[in-house]
């Protein structure tokens, strides 16, 4: 190939690449939401003298240009391939793949966050539970990094030390250890959460430690569409998807679930099939994030009640426990002030379980 032809090809190909994507950026339809990243995308900033002078137009435009760039997800995928495949980096923006699982590095262990989490829990204990006829329990859910990070050579929390620290900070609560019951495959490959069909043993252990005998007999159902968890979209590399299985039995099917999310009581199902085909199918469990939910079991052969202070892991676990309780109340203090709990729950003769994943405890500022 002579030099002249070579130069012509370079100019034409690069001009097509640059001007093509440029034209697409200018005239393409802007997306306002990214399904894969599960977030709103920036919209075109308003042009005015004041936004230009204070520079906000320019800085907002930079974000808008990145957010709405043509084939954004494909380009994010190229970046992941480059980072993990070409440069052989062990993570891309903290995300990594190992043993067929996607995960995000959780590191380092934050003493300050543990202090905040325990302070929030102890505050609830002191205000509402101390000197009451309630049994208070605490359990830490180790996230999937506990079974993956260190083995795959990634940075990892010192989980035994982490759990020991939380136990000591909440030593007036009875600790229920569930770590030995969990393994990597108990978690979705592409998501942070555990799989409901794999945690029956955890539910049994919790019930047993709280003085109840859980039969643990369920029918296993499976959603038709594949589940692409939170890490799937973040890493933007096509990997094997998950399937969501959910468990039912007579108690679960007949129980009444009430949400107070909107201020008024609204009846919702244990499993929300609209959410199952929505942006985050894991939200099918008790309809996702909700500050206050009550599950009532009309078939209960006792009047025992359980209050769970929980995060999203609790959504898939709580239905498994309903057969041994007449009522389970789920409180998520990420979405409501913990001081407001007293107005919603009359604490008397209940089991109270604080159950949080290490991901929340190590990033606990969300607990209010």
């Amino acid at each position: 190939m002579n030099e002249k032809r070579r130069n012509i090809i370079v100019v034409i190909v690069m001009a097509l690449f640059l001007f093509g994507l440029s034209l697409w950026s200018w005239i393409g339809k802007d997306r306002d939401y990214s399904e894969s990243e599960r977030r709103k995308l920036a919209s075109k900033p308003k042009l005015s003298a004041s936004t230009v002078i204070d520079g906000s137009f320019m800085s907002d435009f930079e974000v808008y240009a990145m957010d709405t760039f043509p084939m954004r997800d494909a380009f994010r995928g190229i970046k992941s391939v480059s980072e993990l495949g070409v440069f052989r980096k062990l993570d891309n923006n903290g995300l990594y793949i190992s043993s067929g699982h996607l995960s995000r590095i959780e590191y380092p262990y934050s003493e300050r966050m543990l202090e905040h989490a325990s302070e929030r829990m102890n505050n609830i204990y002191d205000k509402f539970l101390a000197n009451k006829s309630v049994n208070v329990y605490f359990s830490v859910i180790p996230d999937k990094n506990c079974f993956l990070a260190e083995k795959s050579g990634r940075l990892s929390l010192d989980y035994p030390a982490f759990i020991e620290e939380m136990k000591q900070r909440t030593d007036h609560m009875k600790y229920i250890d569930i770590t030995d019951l969990l393994e990597l495959d108990d978690f979705y490959r592409t998501d942070t959460h555990w799989r409901q069909e794999r945690i029956v043993d955890v539910a049994k252990r919790l019930a047993s430690e709280m003085g109840a005998e859980l039969k643990g007999e369920y029918t296993e159902n499976v959603l038709e569409s594949p589940f692409k968890g939170v890490y799937y979209g973040q890493l933007a590399i096509p990997v094997r998807t998950d399937m969501i299985h959910y468990l039912t039995n007579d108690s679960i099917e007949k129980c009444k679930v009430t949400s107070y999310n909107t201020g008024k009581p609204i009846e919702i199902g244990v499993y929300n099939m609209d959410k199952a085909v929505g942006r985050d199918p894991y939200e099918m469990f008790l309809s996702g994030a909700d500050p206050f939910i009550e599950i009532e079991n009309p078939n209960a052969d006792n009047d025992r009640e359980l209050v769970i202070f929980r995060d999203s892991f609790g959504s898939s676990l709580a239905p498994l426990l309903i057969e041994v309780y007449s009522k389970i109340t789920l409180v998520d203090i990420r979405y409501m002030q913990s001081e407001a709990v007293g107005a919603m729950v009359g604490f008397n003769d209940q089991d109270v379980l604080f159950m949080y994943s290490t991901l929340i405890l190590n990033n606990s500022l969300a607990l209010r």
């Binding site: 130069n7 760039f69 480059s82 923006n93």
Partner: protein, 466 residues
């Protein structure tokens, strides 16, 4: 605006190229000037006024100097214009440094001005100074067209990060420049290489340096990893940006000067500074060192000249003591080399290279530190004076995760890739392979850089603070 941003690559640049090439020849400088003003105003709208005043200062001074050619008035105009330029630079860049040191020395508490540093002020001020001095020295004729002079000073490819282009080097190109497919192709090649250096390598190394800065755990190995990574990052960041500037200049028909020539293969510090930030080194040589007498003075005078030039070089990089110490650090090595070491270094190339790498690495630890205390902590840590452990699990992770990037950067900092391509091109089959591979390389690097930018990765440009 950053070259390495989606806004620049896919909004600004295509529009500018389209307008520029559709504009008639005699209006091309106007198109270039307007583009440059938008480019500059994108980041610093209010400081466009400051740059305009600077340009007017240079323009009027040039005309007056030429008018009063040889008379004392010309010298007076030179002094006044230079003082205005240096005054602006001093006020906007160094005022708080002087106030802080004045307060420290006197115990007073004069309030700081807290002025935001106008982007690129060090670069365009030096260009205006060089123009006025060149006219005074009759190395260049005064520019009678303010659009042409403003286009030179504000030319967006080199406006915010150099290279520092001498007026005398581009005066003819401002009047008459050619555009061709071969020039455009060459510009694209240089630009894409620069983009890859900045986005794919420098930013990745920046993440590693950030991890060091944010980590509370230090170790001997981590200090070394930081020193190596930061030295490579600053090279790929700055030379990448310079390559992009040269490439863009070529696309627009200008031949801008080369700013880096594989500095890390130097065998002495003297040679290093002939290969690193060449446009700054030659500026100080021609406008400070030689006017002070250079080496044609007494030995003591020569020493003074070296110290003055290198103190100013350090100070040009930033208003902090570690930059001054960084400059003087090099002055010490240059003096030692000049008076006896250079002749020994010439005999042992490998030892020379090792000495340069070690010396430069330590210099960049000083350069990149927040203050001298943290610089000394890192340097002490590197040589085992801080009682640090050899390595920790966290740092082992970073080392493993970034090893390919570091190796790629170390190889890329040498002429080896260029030599391989040149040798391959010598055979017929090799030449075809290089031609085919080249287009995939250019598209691949641009796509990868775009991917990194879309992902919003760590992307600040290091030299903006200068």
């Amino acid at each position: 605006m950053l070259f390495s941003s989606i806004t620049f690559l896919y909004y600004f640049l295509p529009c500018v190229l389209l307008i520029y090439f559709l504009t008639p020849k005699k209006l091309k400088n106007t198109a270039l000037l307007l583009s440059s003003i938008i480019f500059y105003a994108w980041g610093e709208p209010k400081y466009v006024v400051l740059m305009t005043v600077g340009i007017l200062n240079g323009f009027i001074a040039g005309l007056l100097i030429e008018k009063y050619n040889g008379a004392k008035t010309a010298k007076a105009v030179l002094w006044v214009s230079s003082l205005i330029s240096i005054g602006f630079l001093g006020y906007f860049k160094y005022a708080d440094f002087f106030i802080e040191n004045f307060n420290a020395a006197t115990g007073l508490s004069v309030p700081l001005l807290k002025i935001a540093l106008p982007v690129g002020i060090s670069f365009y001020t030096f260009q205006i100074l060089s123009y006025v001095i060149d006219v005074y020295r009759k190395d260049a004729a005064a520019q009678r067209n303010i659009i042409d002079l403003a286009a030179y000073v504000s030319m967006f490819p080199q406006l915010i990060a150099g290279p520092i282009v001498r007026y005398s080097d581009v005066a003819a190109q401002l009047k008459e420049r050619t555009h061709s497919i071969s020039k455009a192709a060459s510009g694209i090649r240089v630009f894409v290489v620069g983009l890859g250096k900045k986005v794919l390598i420098a930013n990745a190394l920046g993440e590693l340096c950030k991890a060091y800065s944010e980590s509370e755990e230090r170790s001997v190995i981590f200090c070394w990893i930081y020193a190596v990574s930061y030295s490579l990052q600053i090279y790929f960041d700055f030379s990448g940006y310079s390559d992009m500037a040269v490439g863009l200049g070529r696309l627009l028909g200008f031949e801008l000067c080369e700013n880096f020539r594989y500095p890390y293969i130097s065998e002495s510090i003297t040679e290093f500074w002939r290969r690193w930030h060449i446009s700054l080194g030659t500026w100080f040589r021609d406008y400070v060192y030689i006017p002070l007498g250079g080496n044609r003075v007494s030995k003591l005078g020569h020493l003074r000249n070296i110290l003055v030039v290198w103190m100013l070089t350090g100070f040009w990089h930033g208003a902090a003591w570690n930059f001054i110490i960084w400059g003087l650090y090099f002055a010490v090595f240059l003096i030692i080399e000049k008076f006896f070491l250079l002749k020994y270094l010439k005999k042992t190339k490998a030892a020379g290279r090792l000495y340069v790498i070690l010396t430069v690495m330590i210099s960049f630890v000083i350069f990149g530190a927040e203050n001298m205390g943290s610089a000394m902590d890192c340097i002490g840590g590197m040589f085992g004076f801080k009682g640090l452990p050899l390595i920790s699990a966290e740092q082992g992770y970073y080392l493993r995760s970034f090893s390919i990037v570091i190796i790629a950067a170390a190889i890329g900092a040498t002429p080896l890739p260029r030599i391989i391509v040149e040798n391959a091109s010598k055979t017929k089959i090799g030449a075809v392979a290089v031609s085919v591979t080249e287009i995939f390389f250019l598209v691949g690097v641009t796509a990868a850089a775009t991917a990194y930018l879309v992902d919003g990765s760590f992307n600040p440009f290091m030299y903006f603070r200068f």
